[in-house]
């Protein structure tokens, strides 16, 4: 489903990687590993189409990723939370769904917030939440997420142990439904379902 061929990444004067390729099928998870500055985030940004690769090509379902159809299948969670401090968690969730052209009812959104442990804080502006709680607001998007390709940049950062387990469960549920996921992380978290593959950048 997701194929990368002979990718090369140059940032500034430095070549981060070259000749990189992989193939990911439904139900598979790709773990990107590597030390800081090895190009993990750059590779993720190539996969979502924001950073054009120096050489090589990325295909989704056999087609180039430069199409609106690819982006309709893609859910990206960067290291920034993409939530608005002035809005409440509920408003943030509904706004991000509307802007991505997804139908999300208020009940579903409330349910998602309850699952991430933010029940009772739906109506509090996000600027009053802690770092970990803000991350949970960002992660609440994944609860009702039906798009098949998830690209997650350091999803476990700032989460407590219970939340890490919960997120691992959400990701394995996604893989069981036939979804694909690519993620970077420094903590090795055990994802109970799906085929896990590793790619080490050095």
């Amino acid at each position: 489903m997701l194929e990368a061929d002979n990718l090369e990444c140059v940032r500034g004067e430095r070549r981060l990687f070259a000749g990189l390729g992989f193939k990911l099928e439904a139900g598979e998870l790709l773990y990107l590993q590597g030390k800081n500055g090895s190009g993990k985030t750059s590779l993720l940004r190539m996969l979502i189409g924001l950073l054009p690769p120096e050489t090589g090509e990325i295909r989704w379902k056999g087609e180039s990723i430069k199409s609106d159809e690819f982006r309709a299948d893609l859910c990206y969670l960067g290291h920034l939370n993409a939530i608005k401090e002035e809005l409440t968690p509920l408003e943030n969730l509904l706004a991000s769904a509307h802007l991505a052209d997804e139908a999300l009812s208020e009940d579903d959104a409330l349910d998602a917030l309850e699952q991430v442990g933010l029940a009772g804080r739906e109506d509090l502006a996000c600027k009053y939440l802690s770092q970990g709680q803000k991350r949970r607001v960002a992660l609440a998007r994944l609860v009702k997420e039906k798009r098949p390709l998830w690209i997650l940049d350091e999803p476990f950062v700032a989460l407590d142990i219970a939340a890490v387990d919960w997120l691992a469960g959400i990701i394995s549920g996604h893989l069981q439904r036939g979804g694909l996921a690519v993620m970077t992380t420094h903590q090795l978290v055990d994802i109970p379902a799906g085929t896990v593959r590793e790619l080490r950048l050095s």
């Binding site: 189409g49 924001l50 939530i83 608005k84 706004a95 802007l99 991505a100």
Partner: protein
């Protein structure tokens, strides 16, 4: 297509309402700058009437500039802009929504308060009507052209100064036709021609500017 534009406008207006100081400070800037002129020049109705269109328009240009640097910068800083760029529709539509929201927040209030300020310059009723109408149809062009500058300078240090250098020269046609419409009305020539050109500028900039801004944003996101 209209759904996504409406969603962007709705979100930006909600954010603006939660942060009213931005709207209020631009509006007060406009009011104070315009009101200082009659005080400084003195009570000479003839001279004030001549100065009024230019003063009001220059103040309007500067007031709309105030909030431009934040048009994309906030979304860029918290990662929302990436998500908007990844949404399954063209980024130009998103920018169109942001331009309209910027106008509703920074251009529309100026048009509403302009007739009151025009009285300080002893403008006739006809001239006040034309002035209000000119600001109403001219300021969307300012938001549109400004979006290009805001997108090009996004994420730059000292971007605010660069933004004014980029954008203010491009505002000159709007200034000329906007002030010209009021001048022509005062001198009895009729401002329709100027107003038509102003409307044309607005339509052209609303049509083209969002796509140019979207291209600049994509480069900035790489």
């Amino acid at each position: 297509m209209f759904r996504i534009i409406a969603a962007v406008i709705g979100r930006d207006l909600k954010l603006a309402m939660r942060r009213q100081s931005d709207i209020v400070s631009a509006l007060f800037f406009f009011i104070i700058v315009v009101s200082l002129f009659p005080l400084g020049i003195g009570p000479e109705p003839e001279l004030l009437r001549k100065l009024a269109p230019g003063v009001l328009w220059v103040a309007a240009l500067l007031a709309t500039m105030l909030s431009l640097p934040r048009m994309f910068a906030d979304d860029h800083r918290d990662g929302t802009l990436e998500q908007l760029a990844l949404a399954p529709h063209p980024l130009g539509l998103v920018v169109t929504g942001k331009v309209i929201a910027h106008w509703l927040v920074s251009g529309l209030p100026l048009a509403l308060i302009a007739p009151v300020l025009g009285i300080q310059f002893d403008l006739s009723t006809d001239a006040l009507v034309v002035l209000t109408f000119a600001i109403l149809i001219g300021t969307p062009a300012l938001s549109g052209i400004g979006a290009i500058g805001a997108a090009l300078t996004m994420g730059l240090r000292g971007g605010g100064v660069l933004l004014s250098l980029l954008v203010l020269p491009l505002y000159i046609p709007v200034l000329i036709f906007g002030a010209g419409a009021v001048d022509a009305t005062v001198s009895g020539l009729g401002g329709e021609g100027h107003l038509s050109l102003l409307a044309a500028l607005t339509f052209a900039s609303l049509g083209f500017a969002p796509w140019a801004s979207a291209a600049a944003l994509k480069i900035a996101l790489e």
